[in-house]
C-alpha cells in the first residue's frame, strides 16, 4: 500500500487509455447497489488523481448520488488487467469547469478521448450536459497473473 499515487500512475494511465470503459456502481434509493457502464476521464492534480464523467442530467444515477455520493469503479478487459477506483462523486456545475472537462475529452487522443458534441449537440453549458467529479479514496491495480502468483494488488489510499 502507498500514499503516493505516482507509484501507480504509469500503470493506471496505460490501462485506462487502453480499456476506456468501466463499470460504475452507485447505491440506489433502497440502499442497494446498481451498476452500469460509463466512460470517465482522469487527471492528476497536485499529485492526486481526479476523475470526471461526462453524463446526462436527470438520470437515475443522479438520484442515487444525491442520496449517497459514493461510487465504485472497475476496469476490466479480456487481457485480464484490472483497475479499481473507490471515490466520492459530486457535480462540477461551474460553467468554466464544464467547458474545461468538455475540452479535456475532446483533446485527449481516442479511444479515451472523444468529441462530446456527438452526444450533447447543444454544447458544454446546455442544461442536459453534466460533469460528475470523482475524488478517489482508494485505487488498486491488479491482474489475474498476480492473483495466480498470490501477489497482492498495488493499492493507493488517500
Amino acid at each position: 500500500m502507498t500514499k503516493d499515487f505516482a507509484e501507480l500512475e504509469p500503470e493506471f494511465t496505460r490501462r485506462v487509455a487502453r480499456i476506456v470503459w468501466c463499470t460504475v456502481a452507485t447505491i440506489d434509493r433502497k440502499g442497494n447497489p446498481r451498476t452500469r457502464i460509463l466512460h470517465p476521464i482522469w487527471e492528476v492534480v497536485d499529485g492526486a488523481l481526479v476523475g470526471y464523467i461526462a453524463t446526462g442530467r436527470h438520470s437515475l444515477k443522479e438520484k442515487h448520488i444525491a442520496r449517497n455520493p459514493y461510487v465504485s469503479l472497475s476496469y476490466w478487459d479480456p487481457a485480464q488487467e484490472q483497475v479499481y477506483v473507490d471515490a466520492k462523486a459530486e457535480w462540477a456545475d461551474a460553467p468554466e469547469e464544464r467547458q474545461r472537462v468538455w475540452d479535456l475529452y475532446k483533446n485527449t487522443p481516442p479511444p479515451l478521448g472523444y468529441d462530446p458534441g456527438m452526444i450533447w449537440q447543444s454544447g458544454p453549458l446546455a442544461e442536459d450536459f453534466g460533469v460528475l467529479r470523482l475524488e478517489p479514496w482508494r485505487v488498486a491495480v491488479w491482474s489475474l497473473d498476480a492473483l495466480a502468483n498470490r501477489q497482492p494488488p498495488q493499492v493507493w489510499r488517500s
Binding site: A25, T26, P33, R34, R36, I37, T55, Y70, S72, Q80
Partner: protein, 174 residues
C-alpha cells in the same frame, strides 16, 4: 455513451419469461465470462470486484453460482446486505446487467455439484477450480464457498441493437 446518456432516453422492453432472453444471455456469458460485481460495504458505500460466476436455469429462472472465499470482505458485506449488482461488458459493447440477492450454499452436496458444474462446463466459462492453490483441498476445503445469486432483474443492452432501434430487453421474476 450509455443508455442513460442517450439524448432521448429509450424505453426498455420487458419480457414475460426468461426464455425470451436465455439464448442471448447464455451466449454473452459464455463469451465474456468475467463480470464486475458490486456489494454494499459496512459504511453503505458500493464496492466492486471482478467475479466469474456460472449460471443455470432452474424452473424457468436464472440462478448464478460464484465460487469464492467464505471469509472475505465481501462475505461481511453480504451478511449485512445480500443485494448485489453485476455487469458483463466486453469491447464489442454487448452488456448484461444483473441485480440479484446472494446467499451461501452450505450443503456439502451443493458445493460438490457447483464444483462439478464449473469442471464440466466448456472453457473458458468452465474450468477446474483445483488449478488454484487455495482450492487444492477441493469443494469441502475450508477456503471454498459458493454464493448463490438469484436475480431480481436482468437486462441485455447492446449499442448495436440500440442503433437499429431495438430497446434493451429486461426480465424480472413474476
Amino acid at each position: 455513451m450509455t443508455q442513460e446518456d442517450a439524448p432521448t432516453r429509450l424505453p426498455t422492453q420487458e419480457t414475460k419469461t426468461f426464455a425470451d432472453l436465455e439464448r442471448e444471455f447464455v451466449k454473452r456469458v459464455a463469451r465474456i465470462v468475467w463480470c464486475s460485481l458490486a456489494t454494499v460495504d459496512r459504511q453503505d458505500r458500493p464496492r466492486i470486484r471482478i467475479a466469474h460466476p456460472i449460471w443455470e436455469v432452474v424452473d424457468g429462472k436464472p440462478v448464478g453460482y460464484w465460487s469464492t472465499f467464505p471469509r472475505s470482505l465481501k462475505a461481511k458485506h453480504i451478511a449485512r446486505n445480500p443485494n448485489v449488482s453485476l455487469t458483463y461488458w466486453d469491447p464489442v459493447h454487448e452488456q448484461i446487467y444483473v441485480d440479484a440477492k446472494a446467499d451461501w450454499l452450505e450443503a456439502p452436496e451443493d458445493k460438490q455439484r457447483i464444483w462439478d458444474l464449473y469442471k464440466n462446463t466448456p472453457e473458458p466459462l468452465g474450468y477446474d477450480l483445483a488449478v488454484w492453490g487455495f482450492w487444492k483441498d477441493g469443494p469441502q476445503g475450508k477456503n471454498f464457498g459458493v454464493l448463490r445469486l438469484q436475480p431480481t432483474r436482468v437486462e441485455l443492452f447492446s449499442i448495436g441493437a440500440l442503433m437499429s432501434g431495438q430497446p434493451p430487453l429486461v426480465w424480472k421474476p413474476q
